[in-house]
């Protein structure tokens, strides 16, 4: 922290390197035929889920509030895209614009109630609203397809697997930069102040509820965009997208990656998805015990490295230097 300029320059350099590598990646993968296409698809999913995890971390890491209903906005985004494209023949760009907007509106309504509560009660209310939305989508069979989900969302001709990967990557980079800007802005600092000491934040004149609500809405919007992108990737929207167990995914990813860093959740999310598919490729029976692997990994993080992998790395890094 004390050496801002050099570390931020190193950050830019590594960020640009990673981005360039990610941009070139599908060109190589494209050479590998079907296997390559499969991995392009997996990589696209990683990018999308990374965005989902980062969106949650605005509330979780920077805001210090544990939301167990974040998947609701992810799902609302997905259903917005699916319904607009399937039933109203919207083009993709309009549907993908609408997804974060609808999610933001939903988040505004839900958040208005939720930010009134603190700590555990906030978590439970987000869980309650999340399940309520899940149930509504589940029961509204004629509109949302209920348990069947909405499958066969159209895909524009030009968006082959590689092009869609690039589209997602571009959207991700843009969102990453926006989130970075938000976090480093005076708004972001206020959010962090509220997390550290709410009384102090109130004392220096920060309107705690309004800031938290705004943060909640922004996070919901990004989650909605991620949901819309996943919907178009898989070409379906499913009720499971809103389920509370889906809300747990970005929390796990954030925790594994590190909740107090910007890129941590994205990395954590990618590692988890990758690990799952890696184990599955090594041996098929690993799919059966994947939840056990994930659970044990989570236990280890909770008990021994609550700062996440990024924190762990930072600790080792610091120790080796001193």
């Amino acid at each position: 922290m004390d050496d801002m300029t050099s570390s931020s320059r190193a950050g830019w350099i590594s960020g640009i390197t990673v981005t360039v590598v990610l941009f070139v990646l599908p060109v190589f993968l494209g050479q590998l035929g079907k296997t390559g296409e499969y991995w392009i698809w997996v990589s696209t999913e990683m990018i999308i889920m990374a965005l989902f995890a980062m969106s949650l971390n605005l509330i979780l890491g920077f805001g210090g509030m544990v939301s167990f209903g974040h998947a609701a906005f992810f799902g609302v985004g997905a259903y917005t895209v699916a319904l607009l494209m399937k039933k109203a023949d919207f083009p993709l760009y309009l549907a993908l614009t609408a997804a974060p907007l609808v999610a933001a509106i939903t988040a505004a309504i839900v958040g208005w109630f939720c930010v009134r509560l603190l700590g555990l009660y906030f978590s439970i209310l987000t869980l309650a609203f999340g399940q309520l939305l899940f149930m509504i989508v589940f029961q509204w069979y004629t509109f949302t397809g209920g348990d069947d989900g909405l499958h066969g969302v159209p895909r524009p001709e030009i968006l082959g697997p590689i092009n869609y990967y690039w589209l997602c990557l571009i959207l991700f980079v843009i969102c990453f930069l926006i989130i970075r800007m938000i976090v480093n802005s005076s708004f972001g600092l206020s959010i962090k102040t509220i997390r550290e000491n709410m009384e102090r934040a109130k004392f220096i004149g920060i309107n705690v509820r309004r800031y938290q609500l705004l943060n909640f809405i922004i996070a919901g919007a990004f989650a909605g965009l991620a949901g819309g992108m996943l919907c178009e990737l898989n070409r379906f929207a499913q009720t499971e997208f809103l389920h509370w167990s889906k809300s747990a995914e970005p929390i796990l990813a954030s925790l594994v990656g590190g909740i107090y860093s910007l890129a941590g959740p994205a990395i954590g999310s990618s590692i988890l998805i990758f690990l799952k598919i890696f184990l599955q490729q090594v041996h098929r029976s690993m799919v059966e015990v994947w939840a056990i692997v994930l659970g044990v990994l989570l236990l280890v993080v909770v008990l021994f490295a609550p700062q996440g992998l990024v924190g762990l790395y930072q600790n080792i890094f610091k120790k080796s230097q001193s």
């Binding site: 978590s123 309650a128 747990a248 929390i251 939840a291 056990i292 659970g295 909770v302 008990l303």
Partner: protein
Amino acid sequence: MTWQLFVFMLINGLCQGMLLFIIASGLSLVFGVLRVINFAHGSLYMIGAFLAYSLSTIFAGESLMGFLILLMVVPPAIAIIGFVLEVSLFRRVYREEHLLQLLLTYALVLILDDLVRVIWGGEPRSVTRPDLLAGSVDIFGMALPSYNVFILVVGPLIAFGLWFLLYRTRTGNIIRAAVSYPDTLGALGVNVSWVMTSTFMLGCWLAGFGGVLTAGLSNIDLGMGMQTIIECFAVVVIGGLGSVGGALLGSLIIGTGLTFFQLPFGRWALVFPYALMALVLVVRPWGFFGKPER
């Protein structure tokens, strides 16, 4: 609706509520003392149900005696699992943030649920109801399964037992003190960690008991833990986090609500628990019987 039908539906709903109460009261009790929302409560309940299934295949499940043995053997077994979990894991996170506590219990959900899949496979199972409880009881010309009546009898017994334990014994006094004044209790020379362990075991005992009862009522399968834990959250929130009396009220509201609303609202009846849960949290976050915190 005739009044006979009303009474019938009420009784049927109360049966559902009682089953829910047995499971949810454990969750509420554990929260009250340990201040941890235990997501894994649903998994322990599921393990109880599957254990009951396995044991029922060993000794004849169709005699009432066999079933009562299940009810006596399985809940303590779950309590022992709870003991191991509390001593080895939960204890380490009492002083940590809520997030880490929730995630610890969620990690347990992932592990325990998958273990059930590995041990018992993905097939749904059930325990044959004992002969004595397989028939039905006549209520104004409508038949109510005797098994449901059995739950309706057992539920209040458990509720009474809990009340007696909490309000009429020394242990209960200590547990209630641990809810209200956790800090002063240690200063008074009470072994607080022992109180926590035994409360946690009691919670698990209740989860196991609910599991056995469910195994006789319907199919048991891998999703039951995840589904029930959310219903239990609804119950506990409506009644008030940490309050056993509240859990009783909450579960009876949800049990009867689900039965009654099915008739006029059909599919939308299932939205009711979550809508009520959200409503209560918005209007009165500490629930009907809870106390406002901090």
